[in-house]
Structures are given as structure tokens and as C-alpha cells.
């Protein structure tokens, strides 16, 4: 649930309604039935004898299924208990709703049941930005269906609504005149199918309805199978079992199939706004989930390769070899009023693509995929040097070429004020943020390993390693803030340090670009009072001019960020420090009932007893969902080494004994055990 609304989803189709199951959306309101970034129902209101219903209870049965128990009468005091209406709804390629009316009287009852339906066919971007539509609407009754249609030139979208029992259909909805016997029941099924049609012109009209409906049984079995396939977790600390199950279920819900690979799935970024492929989010989530569900990484790698940039396109910020930022299917994308077909404006997904490919091979031993994706990986590595070095200074930097609808900040901290000097001033463009250099370094190192091991190209491997070593040397010289003993968040367009202290330092540890001699100082900052709140590492340190504990990227704590920081700390041997990050975020997850938000307030833990959720419409979010999985990896010290999995636990004392059984990988299945021995309270609670 989000903001009192009920939401269910399957793939990129989702419904957001009120707690009665009704939808009454305005242009700026995110309720409705959405599919492929388009709202196909903006009104869906049930009445009995002209009366709205009142919710007794709402049950989330599955992530794709909800049941509403309703009674007539909208007052909060008076409830007409002679009737119960049960609305059970599920999402597939549209929406299916079973409506049951129960008569509790000993007399028959005559009723007029009505479903009002309408659609504004808004693009998700229009909902976010409250934009006006440019096409025309029509509603018609055809073949026992109510058909809602939107047409703009050749762009046509339709919603087909029908019922399993006879109804009077008009252009605004469906009516049923029924008699329910004493202590009896009446029911019908309402079916809403979305359709993306081609209009006339050069082409024939294709089949009426797109796609095939999923069968409910298949979906339930699919979820059950997904949960059964996952490693089994047992732990003395009870909240962890709830957190783990929540992660797996939310990750299942966020699985998304592309049109090119309908039988495979990759993680979409988040519900409701981001049910699509995002290069960065899909890669980070696949990395987090790798020890538990490696198949997500394989699909992510394949799907991103299929859409890898091949040309220079300034509107889409596309270059050859660049990995996409975001893919969309709505009207604004269709008419090139937005560049998301796909949009490529990010500077991190391309090196991270190579990082994921290598990490995937280390876990799974799937060299076939590495061979199949050799060209994609080489093109990504080539992009780093050929297209990302905007200032010709040997560093990856970014600046959008699409000045109207492109993204200004093309790193994960993409809000306008996330990158600033200590005094709060904002740098110009291009910007070379520090973590991008870390990712580029790691991509080169890992690319070299794959070149040597799989592509049989030792000369290329040598070249990449040499370039990586050179990048590391220059980076440790140019980004190191001497008087603060940390790495600057960026270099500006003059090569000057953007000198605020940020959580990006943790990503640098993860990438391995940090000189050993500097690592301890970096770790000290990450766990120091300026960055560490007690719950986690803040995006920006207290004391910086732009620090704000509820500023999006300038003081909040991001669980995803922290999961990579914990991995980074482990990479440099800071086991106890990593355990403190594990403890803080897991304890926050306990407070959030297992579902971590995108971000929460950076207030010191000692002054707020609970982590304060940052207000956001997006939940669950993929990389927050994946965070506990990566934290488990960091806590247990899981690291593939050849055909073995090293387990080197350093867990918070509170967790007691922890077992993760049947971890999949090149070793087939392996069990990991650990016992909490690190007294993290002295850091998290002080």
C-alpha cells in the first residue's frame, strides 16, 4: 500500500485504487489501471442501487490479487448489513474482477448494480506532470463489450470491458438488474483488456486484443515456485525471516518481461512510476540479488545488450556502446515529445554492465553468456574511453545533449543539488563524479579478466589492466581532498575538486579504486558521526552547506547505497564496519515491516527513535528491495573464489545464528552459516 491506496501489479500492468476498489482519478492523480506506461482506466466505480460502498476490509492476497469486502452506504457510522459485496481483483494483461453480492435476509432482494467506467489514456509522464492530451476520445458498445478508445493520428489505444453475465452496456459503463434469493448469492466476472492497436494506413488492422491472458493458477504457482527456489534462511533474529520473505515477494512482483523475451524476467525499478527497464536500477538490483536469484542478472544483461546504443542521437543522448537509462512505451515517447525510446542519459550503467557480466560469471560459471555478450561488453568498454571522456582528461564525465527533456545529473544521485561544493555552490558541466571513475576502473579490471578467461584476448586484457592502473593512480591524486582525507564527490569542468563529503566514498571502496593507504580514512568517515546516522550512511555529511536530513540526495539514508557501501567495506577488509552498516539498515527494515523505502531521514538515531520515511510515491522499489540481500552477502562475507564459495561471516551480535541454505552458483548449491559476534550497538546506538 502507498498513501492509503491499494495497488496490485503484474509485469508492467498495475492497478492503483482506493480501499473500496474504486478508481476516480484526475490527470494529476496516480490511480487507475496502467499498462505499458498508459492509463487504460481512470474511472471504475461500483454502486448498488445508486449508492457507493463502504470498505469493511481489504486483503492483499498476492501481489497481483486483492479482495475487497464491502457493504452499501458510505457513512462511517451506519453500515447496512443486509448485503455484502465482495470484489476480488487480479491483474494480468489488464484486470479481472469477480463481483459477488451476498443477501443476508430471508427475503429476495432486487438490486441495480452499476460499474461506471472511463479512461483518459494518460501517459504516465502526463500524470506526473499534469499535461493535457492532444488526441480524441470515443466510447462505443461493440460485440457485448464497452470499448473506450483514444486516437491521435495513427496512435490508438483501447480498453475492452465485458462481463460474464448479461448486462446493459452503455458508453459510460455496465448495469445489472438482478434478484438475489434469500441467503443467496449473485456473481459476475468483469473483464478489462487493454489493447495497443495499429490504425489504418499502410497496414492492416491486427488482431483485436494484444497478448494472451495469464491464468491465475499459473501466476500463483509461479510465485510459489519462485519462493521455493530461493535459498532457505533461518536466523535467531526473527525479523530477518520477515525481511527476507518480503524481499523475495517484492522482487517477484517487480519482475518484468520485455516484448523480446516474454519467458524471462528482469527487475523493473519500482512501483508505480518505474515499472520498466532502467539500466542502472536493473543492474544494481541484479547485483544485489545475484547470490539468491542469478537468473535476473542474465536477463538484465541480455535485455540491455539488445538495446545497447549504436549511433549518435543527441535527443536520446545515445552513443555507440552506451547502455540505456530508461525505456518507455507511452504516447509522449511515441510522438518523440520525450526521448525514452529508449533514453540513454546516464554515465554509470555502461561500466556497471561489464561489472555485472563479470560478477555473474564469477557466481555462475556461465561462460557461454559471456561469449555471447562479448561484443556488447567490448562496446561498453569502448564507450568509456571513446564517448564518456567528454573533457579529454581521462575521466568519465557527463553532460546532457538533450537540453529540454534530457537528464541533467546522469549519476544515481540525479537531483539538481546532489553534487555541490562544501559551500553549497553548484559546479558547471561536464561533471566527473567520483563513483563513475570507480565503476570505470572496475569495469576495466573485470573486462580484463573476461578477456583473458573467456574471450582469449590477452593483449586486450593487458591493455585494460594498464589503463585501469593508470586511472587508479591519477584518481587517487586528483580526487583526494588532502585536508579532509576523503575523495571529492566530483571534478568540475575546470578540473577543480567538488569537495563535499558524500556517501559516494563507499562506492569507491566497492569498486576497488581506492589506494590501500587511503582506505582506512575513508572507512572512518563512512562510520563517523558526520556520515553515519546510526541507521546508515547518509548521502551527504552533516556540516556540508547543502546537508539536509530530509534532502533527497543531500542527507537522507538510502538502503541501496548502504548495501554497496557494506560490500565496499568488506572488499577492503573492514568487516566490523560492514557489520555496523548491516545492523543499521536491517534494524531500520524491521521498523518498516520488512519493506525498506527508497530513502529515509538522516536524523541521528539517538534523537529519533524510528527512521523517518522520506515521502515518495514509489514502493516497493527494486534496489531497496534488493538491499537486504546484498547486506546478507556482506554480513556472511560470501565471495566466489574459483569453483568455491568463501564464507567469512562478520555479523551483528543481535542476529545470533544465521543459516542460508542452498545458495545457487557454479558450486551447484552450498550452505552458509554465521554467528553474530560483532557488537554493532556501540556504533549504531551511540
Amino acid at each position: 500500500m502507498s498513501g492509503g491506496l491499494v495497488q496490485i501489479l503484474e509485469g508492467n500492468t498495475f492497478v492503483v485504487s482506493d480501499d473500496r476498489g474504486d478508481i476516480e482519478s484526475s490527470l494529476s492523480d496516480p490511480t487507475g489501471l496502467f499498462s505499458f506506461d498508459t492509463r487504460f482506466l481512470s474511472r471504475w466505480v461500483l454502486t448498488v442501487n445508486g449508492q457507493r460502498l463502504n470498505a469493511l476490509s481489504t486483503d492483499d492476497l498476492q501481489y497481483f490479487q486483492t479482495r475487497f469486502f464491502l457493504v452499501p452506504g458510505s457513512g462511517s457510522v451506519y453500515v447496512d448489513s443486509r448485503l455484502t459485496v465482495i470484489r476480488q481483483r487480479e491483474v494480468a494483461d489488464g484486470l479481472r474482477e469477480e463481483l459477488r453480492v451476498l443477501n443476508h435476509e430471508s427475503e429476495p432482494v432486487d438490486l441495480h448494480i452499476r460499474i461506471d467506467a472511463a479512461s483518459d489514456f494518460a501517459d504516465l509522464f502526463e500524470v506526473k506532470d499534469a499535461l493535457k492530451k492532444k488526441g480524441h476520445y470515443r466510447a462505443r458498445v461493440a460485440d457485448l463489450h464497452l470499448v473506450l478508445e483514444y486516437r491521435r493520428d495513427t496512435y490508438v489505444r483501447e480498453t475492452w470491458i465485458s462481463s460474464s453475465s448479461p448486462s446493459d452496456i452503455d458508453e459510460k459503463g455496465l448495469s445489472f438488474s438482478i434478484t438475489v434469493p434469500p441467503h443467496g448469492e449473485w456473481k459476475t466476472a468483469l473483464d478489462v483488456v487493454v489493447s495497443s492497436e495499429h490504425a489504418e494506413g499502410a497496414v492492416d488492422r491486427p488482431t483485436r486484443i494484444r497478448g494472451q491472458r495469464h491464468v491465475r493458477g499459473d501466476m500463483e504457482r509461479g510465485l510459489e515456485k519462485w519462493l521455493q527456489k530461493a535459498p532457505l534462511l533461518e536466523c535467531d533474529w526473527e525479523p530477518l525471516a520477515q525481511i527476507y520473505r518480503r524481499c523475495l515477494t517484492d522482487l517477484a512482483a517487480l519482475r518484468f518481461s520485455t516484448l523480446t523475451m516474454p519467458d524471462r524476467s528482469l527487475p523493473a525499478a519500482g512501483l508505480p512510476w518505474f515499472m520498466t527497464i532502467f539500466g542502472r536500477d536493473s543492474i544494481f538490483t541484479s547485483l544485489q540479488a545475484l547470490p539468491f536469484a542469478p537468473e535476473l542478472a542474465a536477463t538484465t544483461l541480455l535485455a540491455l545488450a539488445e538495446r545497447q546504443g549504436t549511433r549518435i542521437d543527441d535527443f536520446r543522448d545515445e552513443d555507440p556502446g552506451r547502455i540505456l537509462h530508461e525505456m518507455r512505451y507511452g504516447e509522449l515517447t511515441a510522438f518523440e515529445e520525450r526521448p525514452h525510446s529508449p533514453y540513454y542519459g546516464n554515465a554509470d550503467a555502461t561500466p556497471l554492465y561489464v561489472v555485472l557480466l563479470d560478477e555473474y560469471e564469477r557466481w555462475t560459471g556461465d561462460t557461454k553468456l559471456v561469449r555471447d555478450l562479448e561484443h556488447a561488453a567490448r562496446a561498453a568498454l569502448n564507450w568509456i574511453d571513446e564517448y564518456a571522456d567528454l573533457q579529454d582528461n581521462g575521466y568519465v564525465s557527463y553532460q546532457r545533449r538533450n537540453k529540454k527533456t534530457g537528464l541533467e545529473n546522469q549519476c544515481w544521485k540525479d537531483s539538481w543539488d546532489s553534487i555541490s561544493y562544501r559551500n553549497g555552490d553548484l559546479p558547471g558541466f561536464p561533471r566527473a563524479t567520483c563513483e563513475l571513475q570507480g565503476y570505470a576502473y572496475d569495469a576495466k579490471r573485470r573486462g580484463a579478466r573476461l578477456a583473458r578467461l573467456v574471450w582469449r584476448d590477452p593483449a586486450f586484457a593487458d591493455r585494460l589492466e594498464k589503463e585501469a592502473a593508470d586511472l587508479k593512480r591519477r584518481f587517487n591524486r586528483d580526487f583526494w581532498v588532502e585536508d579532509g582525507e576523503y575523495f571529492a564527490v566530483a571534478l568540475d569542468s575546470d578540473g577543480r575538486q567538488v569537495d563535499s563529503l558524500t556517501s559516494n566514498n563507499g562506492h569507491l571502496l566497492w569498486s576497488g579504486i581506492v589506494d590501500k593507504s587511503k582506505a582506512r580514512a575513508v572507512a572512518r568517515h563512512l562510520l563517523g558521526s558526520r556520515l553515519f546516522s546510526g541507521w546508515g550512511v547518509r548521502t551527504m555529511a552533516e556540516g556540508e552547506a547543502r546537508y539536509n536530513p530530509i534532502g533527497y540526495h543531500v542527507g537522507t539514508v538510502w538502503p541501496f547505497d548502504n548495501s554497496f557501501i557494506a560490500w565496499g567495506l568488506r572488499r577492503y577488509g573492514f568487516k566490523e564496519e560492514a557489520a555496523c552498516v548491516v545492523a543499521g539498515i536491517m534494524e531500520a527494515a524491521e521498523v518498516f515491516n520488512g519493506r525498506l523505502p527508497e530513502a529515509f531521514g538522516g536524523y541521528p538515531r539517538k534523537t529519533t527513535r524510528y527512521p523517518v520515511q522520506y515521502p515518495t510515491a514509489c514502493s516497493p522499489q527494486a534496489w531497496s528491495t534488493g538491499a537486504p540481500l546484498l547486506l546478507l552477502r556482506a554480513g556472511l562475507g560470501l565471495e566466489p573464489q574459483g569453483d568455491n564459495l568463501i564464507v567469512d561471516p562478520a555479523l551483528p551480535k543481535r542476529m545470533g545464528s544465521l543459516e542460508v541454505l542452498d545458495l545457487p552458483g557454479r558450486w551447484k548449491r552450498i550452505d552458509a552459516f554465521g554467528r553474530g559476534r560483532v557488537d554493532t550497538d556501540r556504533v549504531t546506538l551511540c
Binding site: 499502410a202 549504436t310 542521437d313 512505451y329 555471447d372 564517448y387 539538481w416
Partner: protein, 141 residues
């Protein structure tokens, strides 16, 4: 002018013919070394119809007028195809807009559309923006 010469001059001026000739010419595209697929384009121009069949086998490219089956079949107006092969129309956006129909494998079509050029005016370059401009845009200092 001999007839053959006139044909080649007309062909050289026609962006569709030029595009497919350029696609066929190298015989191999490294981008698609991991892929194999065939796409057939049935192109309509008023009452005239033409066919292009692009077949990619682990990077080896062959372009013919073969009307045989393919993994994906695209039916498209010639003016839209001309716009696509000259970079003036993005294929993915055109598909979402319903400007053409594609039957069969979406993946095969995706592969074909990656062969298309970018917009004619795209340079890949942009002028740097100084800090003071960024600050002014945000109403600071």
C-alpha cells in the same frame, strides 16, 4: 544514357536503396556477432510494392529482395521507411505510434532497428556550462 546507368543514378538518389546497399556492402557487422535473425520489409508506395529481406547470421549480413519467410515481417509505407533510413524517424517511436505493423519476432525487428542511423543533426557534442550559469539558472548568486 544507357538504361543501366539511369537505374544506378536513380538508385544512388534513393535513400532506401542506398541504405540497404550500405548495409549489405561490408558483409559483416560486429555488433551482431552474437545474433542471428531475418527481417523482411514489405514496402508499400501507392500501388507499387517492394521487398527487402535482411538476414543476419552471427554478424554476417545479406540483403536480398527475397519474399520468403522471416523471423519478423514489417509492413510499412515507403515514406516512413525513407524517414527511418535517413534518421529522421525513430523506429521504436514509429512502432509505438502505429506507423507500421510488425509480425513475428520483436527481437528480430529490434536488431534491424539498431542498424538505422541517428538523426541527421546529431553531433555528439555540447558546449560546457560554467558553474556561474548553473547557479544563475537556479536563482543563486
Amino acid at each position: 544514357m544507357p538504361k543501366g546507368r539511369a537505374d544506378s543514378v536513380a538508385a544512388a538518389a534513393d535513400p532506401v536503396t542506398r541504405f540497404f546497399a550500405a548495409l549489405d556492402e561490408p558483409g559483416h557487422l560486429a555488433t551482431f556477432e552474437g545474433d542471428s535473425a531475418g527481417v523482411r520489409l514489405d514496402v508499400l508506395d501507392g500501388k507499387k510494392a517492394e521487398r527487402w529481406h535482411v538476414s543476419i547470421t552471427r554478424g554476417d549480413v545479406a540483403v536480398t529482395h527475397n519474399g520468403g519467410p522471416a523471423d519478423a515481417t514489417v509492413r510499412i509505407d515507403r515514406r516512413h521507411l525513407e524517414a527511418m533510413v535517413t534518421g529522421r524517424l525513430n523506429a521504436q517511436a514509429a512502432f509505438l505510434r502505429g506507423l507500421f505493423a510488425c509480425d513475428g519476432s520483436v527481437g528480430a525487428f529490434m536488431m534491424f532497428q539498431r542498424c538505422l542511423p541517428g538523426p541527421p543533426g546529431s553531433t555528439g557534442r555540447v558546449a560546457p556550462i560554467p558553474s556561474k550559469t548553473v547557479m544563475a539558472q537556479r536563482g543563486m548568486k
